[in-house]
């Protein structure tokens, strides 16, 4: 089909009688949905001479601020809630027929969902002029640019926002799976999970499920010619299906109603779309109609997309053909995806010990590397000591390494037997496949590939195990060096204590000696004193004797005198 232009199509349709325009528009646009919406809006504007709504219009307590988007069912506006004094998002529906009551009922049920990953429905009803509306919080965040200018950014859907890497895509689906789980817990089935119905907060890049419980057939014009990525209500010969063909579970295509299991299927399909950049069942740049896609869904699973094997298995489980083979809840799926993101085992790993070991190593990789650097530092600082300890270290290291090598050899043996086992399985399958079909061969190849990947993981693991052992040896050496140093330090302090003791002993001896000499001096002094006393006593005795002699002499003299005097 040659490229169509909105202005030329508009001119052509305006030349037709009014009642014929809608049909001709559908016919000419086919699956070119943006063009259809654009020209439909132009036709409405031409009829009314002015837009249906204008900025500044009041609807009850809301003042319209700007239109965010326009779709088949209605328009979404930012509005200012003059009661709450806050900005909000209003979805205004075009149609004013009674069928919308059921939508509003569902919206009321959906308003009970409490989840960080669901766009909450704050209010639903009709305005005075009969327009049905649903009020939601505005998914906007303010961001500050390089110049310090703050601006509000409004979130867009994952149909236009692409993930920056694989983990981000997986994180988004884990988040919306938690949102869907919250809905299932209050008995609400979304029925139309797909990237276009997931909003992304622009700054925190968190994903939110939008349009909950809104996928009601009354909103969507029946048309087999529309794109398989848009929501539609399709009348097939024996049944009617509602939803988005590319994301529709096989049982829904078969005419069974939507269920929690079909929501889980759609989560898997959404993951597939985000990982590969295009919806399931559509090849790159392929342009086919909805019925073709429905036939493909009915025929078998979509071709796998390039992704790590473990993620492939999660996708396959979510999108299993039979509902009972899928994840039992959206929460279980969210937990598996989170496990993948954080390198923990997933339910789809089938309890493989090898995978678990590989993951354990991957989780600790940073830790091991840090420990290695630390031990290197310790070794460098104690280089001299290491040299002295050289011989002993070598012996210890040798022993440790031998142990590590033995462990590695054991693991390699285990790997070899694993390989033998899986190649045996692969051979069996290949034989079976040769007999059956090309598909069997593919499966065998895939399983051989899986086995190879597991072996690779194992090889990486053994390598890391050896380096870990080396690291343990180094650590042990470092530990011994440390102990040695501590012992030497203790010895030094012991010697120091001895020295101190000796010193004090010496001091004591010196003092004793001085005391002794003082005592000797004292004794000598006392002896001197005693001899002095003796001498003094002798003198006194001599004095006394002399005194006695003197008095005797005096008496003698007196006697002599008396004798002379009377004569």
């Amino acid at each position: 089909m040659s490229r169509q232009y909105a202005d030329e199509l508009f001119d052509a349709l305006m030349a037709l009688p009014e009642e014929a325009r809608e049909e001709e528009l559908s016919r000419r646009c086919g699956d070119d949905l943006p063009l259809r919406d654009e020209v439909a809006a132009l036709l409405r504007a031409a009829d009314e001479g002015a837009p249906e709504r204008r900025r500044g219009d009041h609807l009850d307590r809301y003042r319209l601020e700007g239109r965010l988007g326009r779709g088949a069912s209605g328009e979404v506006w930012t509005a200012f809630d003059e009661h709450l004094m806050a900005f909000t998002a209003l979805k205004l529906f075009h149609r004013r027929d009674a069928g919308l009551e059921s939508v509003l009922r569902e919206a009321r049920a959906a308003s009970a969902i409490l989840s960080d990953h669901v766009v909450r429905i704050r209010a639903a009803g009709r305005f005075e002029d009969g327009t049905p509306y649903i009020e939601m919080p505005l998914c906007a965040e303010s961001s500050v640019d390089a110049d310090g200018q703050e601006s509000m950014k409004v979130g867009r859907s994952l149909a236009v926002e692409a993930p920056t890497d694989l983990p981000e895509a997986v994180r988004w689906v884990a988040e919306i799976a938690r949102g869907v789980d919250a809905a299932h817990r209050v008995g609400v089935v979304h029925r139309d999970i797909k990237p276009a119905n997931v909003l992304l907060l622009p700054v925190s890049r968190r994903a939110l499920v939008a349009d909950f419980g809104l996928s009601s057939p009354v909103l969507y014009p029946p048309s087999a010619g529309r794109a398989p990525t848009s929501t539609m209500s399709l009348a097939l010969p024996d049944r009617r299906v509602v939803g988005t063909p590319c994301y529709m579970a096989p049982e829904v295509v078969d005419g069974l109603g939507a269920s929690r299991a079909s929501d889980i299927y759609a989560l898997g399909a959404t993951l597939m779309a985000l990982v590969s950049g295009r919806p399931p069942y559509l090849a790159e740049g392929e342009n086919v109609d909805a019925t073709t896609v429905l036939a493909r869904v009915a025929a078998g699973p979509p071709p796998p997309v390039p992704a790590p094997a473990r993620l492939q298995r999660a996708m396959a489980k979510a999108m299993a053909r039979r509902p009972r083979d899928r994840y039992r809840s959206a929460l279980a799926m969210a937990e598996d995806l989170e496990a993948w993101l954080n390198d923990y085992p997933m339910s789809t790993d089938g309890g493989s010990r090898l995978i678990a070991m590989g993951l354990r190593l991957r989780r600790h990789r940073t830790l091991v590397a840090t420990a290695g650097i630390l031990s290197a530092l310790v070794l460098a600082s104690g280089a001299a000591l290491v040299h002295m300890e050289g011989v002993r270290r070598d012996i210890a290291a040798e022993a440790e390494l031998a142990m590590a090598r033995k462990a590695a050899a054991d693991l390699e043996a285990e790997a070899a037997s694993e390989q033998a086992r899986s190649s045996a399985v692969g051979a069996d399958r290949a034989a079976l496949g040769a007999a059956m079909a090309a598909r069997g061969a593919q499966e065998a190849a895939a399983s051989a590939e899986d086995a190879r990947k597991e072996l690779e993981a194992l090889a990486a693991w053994t390598e890391i195990e050896v380096s870990e052992a080396t690291h343990r040896v180094e650590e042990a050496v470092a530990g011994r060096i440390d102990a040695e140093r501590r012992a030497a330090e203790a010895e030094i302090s012991r010697v120091r204590a001895d020295e101190a003791r000796a010193r004090s002993e010496l001091e004591r001896i010196g003092l004793q000696r001085r005391l002794d000499s003082v005592m000797a001096d004292l004794a000598a002094a006392r002896a001197d004193l005693a001899s002095e006393r003796i001498a003094r006593e002798g003198t006194e005795r001599r004095v006394t004797a002399l005194a006695a002699e003197l008095s005797a002499l005096q008496t003698h003299l007196k006697n002599l005198g008396q004798a002379a005097a009377p004569e």
């Binding site: 232009y5 001119d11 305006m14 809006a41 504007a45 204008r54 239109r67």
Partner: protein, 178 residues
């Protein structure tokens, strides 16, 4: 609209019409208003001769000047008031828009720039021509027949272009700018 601005606008329109009908252009500049000066500049010297030989060129330039003057004026005025109530206004009637809500005139002008630039996302094939036709109606108040004569287009094409421009403007007005 301000009284003097309305007068000026009428005068510009009269001049435009007389140019188109090759009537004698003999204006005396009475006011020193910005728009008059712009107009005056057009009609002196060489341009005055051009006006006699090919009035279309002069008219195109005049429309440009009128547009600039009106939109500038609307920009200055837009903060001053907001519309009360809602009236149906023709989106290709500059004085009416200015009266109703100067901001809308500014928005319409910007949207016509976008239409003329032909953003691939808009999927409009003849945006350039349609925006040009719309500008003659919007700023010079010319009729379909007058625009057809001026641009050498069949009257039916001009009619289609104006109808499309009105619808397109109405459909895209009040969009949140990305």
């Amino acid at each position: 609209m301000d009284a003097d601005l309305a007068d000026i606008y009428d005068e510009l329109r009269r001049t435009a019409r007389s140019l188109l009908r090759r009537e004698r252009v003999d204006h005396t500049m009475e006011s020193c208003d910005l728009v008059h000066v712009a107009w005056g500049r057009l009609l002196v010297g060489d341009l005055s001769e051009t006006a006699r030989q090919d009035p279309r060129q002069v008219l195109a330039a005049a429309v440009l000047h009128m547009r600039r003057a009106l939109v500038d004026h609307a920009r200055r005025r837009r903060a001053a008031r907001r519309p009360e109530g809602r009236r149906r206004v023709d989106l290709l009637d500059a004085p009416g828009l200015f009266d109703e809500d100067p901001q809308v005139l500014v928005d319409v002008d910007r949207l016509l720039d976008r239409l003329a630039a032909g953003d691939p996302a808009d999927r409009v094939r003849h945006g350039d021509r349609r925006a040009n036709v719309a500008r003659y109606a919007l700023y010079a108040g010319l009729t379909e027949a007058e625009i057809g004569e001026l641009l050498d287009l069949p009257k039916s094409t001009v009619g289609n272009d104006l109808r499309f421009a009105r619808a397109w403007l109405a459909a895209h007005l009040h969009e949140v700018k990305p």
